[in-house]
């Protein structure tokens, strides 16, 4: 309310026979409300400062400092994922692209070379990555987005050539391959980051560090579920006029153009949808639960797609066992390529609450507090979760409480928003580590543990029974 008020001692004479002279009292009363204006000015100034601070926080991050060490980058694999990574990298300051390598010189290689040229990166295109490593002496880091069965060789050769490496997931389509990558990283002392980009996603980091580890909002997590459902889509094709000659396809391990485009479905090249899609989310299971699985059983099959062009399973359902510090956990995972219902998410269910999250920025993260759990007020107040959107309480029917349905728990959101392309934070983490300013969020040993857990699923489907993990399986 208003500021200075009148501490008047005298009575106000109603102007009766008012002399032209003013006595001190009257001067004081006259000026008594002026300080209110001063107080207003002060409060107004504070308000402006606050608004400015808010605006600065919301504004784009500061320009890169001029003395940012420039990192010379080469791209190895310019397909769909390579292009996604390039789009993200073009927004990261302090990177200079030098070379692009892809065996599809006529199409993907040329396309990426041109799009980099638009952003003033003069890059040379290569078909043979060894030639690139020989000729391009100034490369500091290589980003690998080639097919899974090439990851091990590409990564090992690049590390041995003295380059830091960011390699897409899955680490490798075989455990031998993955082990060789860990060994090479250790021997050469160069950095190797595997592309499980949720490990650097601000919302995932917030959920893990603040909500699970610090606040323990879910209580004891006992079950986890997750899925990635995709609708039917035709196989990937290629423009007829840009077909790659057979000789070149064979040289790089592909039997024909169709296999070159759809390698994920072939044994010896990829691992099918459970590896393509599941590797991300199963990695999250281990990360958030703080443990590696002790066993897995799985059922899968090629239920829908053409066996002539699909060797791996198009539908997989798996159940993992975990033993975490808080107790045992069972985690199920499903992937299918015939129906996209509910897309992709992970659901952590504890005795005090539920965490439903997805990488998708549209979906975000939702938390539900079990009605019997202690209130989350402290966490709402310090912004860890939003204030709850209260769900309607079901109406009583005929005066008798309907006990069959429990009251829906209140829904809290996590207000951490990612405004950049999905892979940008993880790439930024890698380049910051190259500059010595950060630690890798997904170093090879961590990614190896994921690879062990994920690759076992196909084995388990084959075996038709529950397979166990020993702790040594995850260590190298």
């Amino acid at each position: 309310m208003a500021g200075e008020n009148e501490k008047d001692k005298g009575t106000p004479k109603a102007g009766a026979a008012g002399p032209r002279k003013l006595d001190r009292r009257e001067v004081l009363t006259g000026l008594s409300t002026v300080p209110a204006l001063g107080l207003f000015g002060y409060a107004w100034n504070k308000q402006r400062q606050y608004q400015q601070a808010k605006a600065e926080a919301a504004a784009a991050p500061a320009e890169a400092p001029k003395d940012l060490q420039v990192i010379n980058v080469a791209l190895l694999g310019a397909g769909a994922q390579g292009q996604v990574l390039t789009d993200a990298m073009l927004r990261i300051p302090g990177l200079r692209f030098r070379a692009v390598c892809d065996i599809w010189a006529e199409y993907n290689q040329k396309r990426v070379v041109n799009s980099l040229a638009k952003f003033k990166h003069e890059v040379r295109g290569y078909e043979d990555y060894r030639e690139m490593l020989d000729k391009e002496k100034e490369i500091d880091a290589v980003v690998i987005a080639s097919p899974d069965f090439w990851h091990a060789q590409h990564a090992v050769d690049c590390l041995k050539a003295g380059k830091h490496v960011y390699c897409e997931k899955e680490m490798s389509n075989t455990l031998e391959g993955a082990r060789s990558m860990v060994a090479a990283a250790r021997e050469t002392g160069k950095l190797l980051q595997i592309g499980h980009q949720r490990r650097s996603n601000p919302r995932y980091l917030h959920c893990y560090e603040k909500l699970l580890r610090e606040a323990k909002l879910l209580g004891r997590v006992v079950t986890v579920s997750g899925q990635w459902n995709r609708a039917v889509a035709p196989d990937l094709g290629a423009p007829a006029r840009y077909a790659i000659p057979d000789a070149r396809l064979t040289q790089y391990g592909f039997k024909d153009m169709h296999q070159f485009r759809n390698w994920r479905w072939y044994k010896g090249k990829g691992g099918g949808p459970i590896v393509d899609l599941g590797s991300h989310q199963i990695d999250i299971y281990s990360w958030f639960l703080g443990a590696n699985p002790t066993g897995v059983m799985a059922s899968g099959g090629l239920l829908y797609h053409d066996p002539a062009t699909h060797e791996w399973y198009d539908t997989v359902m798996a159940v993992y066992d975990f033993e975490t510090p808080m107790g045992k956990v069972k985690a199920s995972y499903q992937t299918q390529t015939t129906n996209g219902s509910q897309g992709y998410f992970e659901n952590f269910m504890g005795d005090q609450g539920t965490l439903l999250l997805s990488e998708s920025e549209v979906y975000g993260a939702k938390l539900y507090r079990d009605p019997n759990a202690p209130a989350w007020d402290t966490w709402v107040q310090n912004g860890y979760v939003s204030a709850p959107k209260i769900q309607e309480i079901k109406e009583k029917t005929e005066g008798v409480t309907d006990v069959r349905e429990s009251v829906s728990p209140d829904e809290h959101k996590v207000s951490v928003v990612l405004r950049d392309p999905y892979h940008q934070p993880h790439l930024q983490n890698f380049f910051n580590a190259v500059r010595g300013k950060a630690k890798l969020n997904c170093p090879p040993e961590v990614a190896y543990e994921s690879a062990v857990a994920v690759l076992k699923v196909n084995e388990a489907i084959e075996a038709g029974s529950r397979l166990s993990f020993k702790p040594e399986d995850f260590r190298i």
Binding site: A60, R91, P239, D420
Partner: protein, 320 residues
């Protein structure tokens, strides 16, 4: 402003002559995109269509203001003085949007009055700079058209020239016609009563935009808050320039996005009077427009189709 639009009564006339034209559909950008391809190999055509739809999905991820990490969402969160880098596609869309803003005297405004001119666009560095707070961009009136342009270009790379691509039929791009016809047969009809055909077109290498209102709907004029005194439906045809047909992308030449411009123009036309549309067509030769005006006394069904501009569309009117 854009939410009341329908397909504007632009349809392909199903006639026997169209032969082995295959149709593929995909939902994106809150509408249904379709690719009609005349090609003997069903499988190749399906793969090409799928690649085109993946392109639309990528564009949606960059352009949609509803995705918190899209380029446009980032632009909408810029404070005064802030900058952000956007993808080349997003930049191209903004440049075209600005161009049509100027062309239509502000009737086409992707910022819906929040200050499009205050955004500085730097196409070379692909950077957008906001000079004031509060600019909000919604590319709904141009995004579908732009997607259609890029899809058609990509289909060209796959060697599929006999094609028609559209987004919810509000933005249509006809490439070469199938065997046996000179052009793709399209009809314009009254969106209020779709069975009533107002005109027939036969088009090739042409982009068309269509905008229309359902019976009883009104577009609200952002300046007065009152229903706009404009058109019930409007269509525009923009010829596709020759340069767009080559491998423009791989050669680094700039694109001329006919369908994006057509999409934007018809959005604007809904707020412009028939006289203003006629003037615009006179000033820009090559454009062709049809307007189904709002009858003055509010009674539907009595208006007749107005036609402006050069007639490159093989347009034949139907007697009313």
């Amino acid at each position: 402003m854009d939410r009341d639009r329908t397909d504007g009564g632009l349809l392909i006339e199903r006639r026997g002559e169209l032969g082995d034209v295959r149709r593929f559909s995909h939902e994106a950008m809150a509408t249904v995109f379709e690719v009609h391809l005349a090609h003997p190999d069903e499988r190749y055509a399906a793969q090409a269509a799928q690649a085109a739809f993946e392109l639309v999905d990528r564009l949606e991820r960059e352009l949609s203001r509803f995705l918190p990490n899209s380029d446009i969402a980032r632009v909408n969160h810029l404070a005064a003085g802030g900058t952000t880098q956007v993808s080349p596609s997003a930049m191209e869309c903004l440049v075209i949007a600005r161009h049509v803003f100027d062309l239509t005297g502000g009737a086409f405004d992707v910022s819906i009055g929040t200050g499009l001119p205050s955004l500085e666009l730097d196409p070379d560095d692909s950077m957008v700079r906001a000079t004031t707070d509060g600019v909000r961009i919604d590319l709904g009136g141009i995004g579908k058209g732009y997607a259609v342009d890029l899809m058609a270009e990509q289909l060209g790379e796959w060697g599929l020239e006999k094609a028609l691509v559209h987004g919810g039929f509000s933005s249509v791009l006809a490439l070469e016609a199938p065997e046996g016809v000179d052009g793709w047969p399209l009809t314009l009809s009254d969106p209020g009563s779709p069975s009533r055909v107002l005109a027939r077109l036969s088009v090739r290498q042409m982009a068309l935009g269509a905008s229309g209102l359902r019976k009883g709907d009104h577009i609200v004029d952002p300046y007065t808050g009152e229903p706009a005194r404009g058109c019930r439906a409007a269509w525009v045809a923009v010829p596709r320039p020759d340069t767009a047909r080559h491998e423009a992308r791989s050669e680094g030449r700039p694109r001329i996005a006919a369908a994006a411009v057509a999409d934007a123009l018809t959005t604007a036309f809904m707020l412009m009077s028939p006289e203003e549309i006629e003037t615009l067509c006179e000033r820009n030769p090559g454009l062709e427009a049809w307007v189904f005006p709002e009858p003055d006394d509010g009674r539907p069904g009595d208006a007749s189709l107005l036609h402006f501009g050069d007639s490159a569309s093989g347009y034949t009117s139907t007697s009313l």
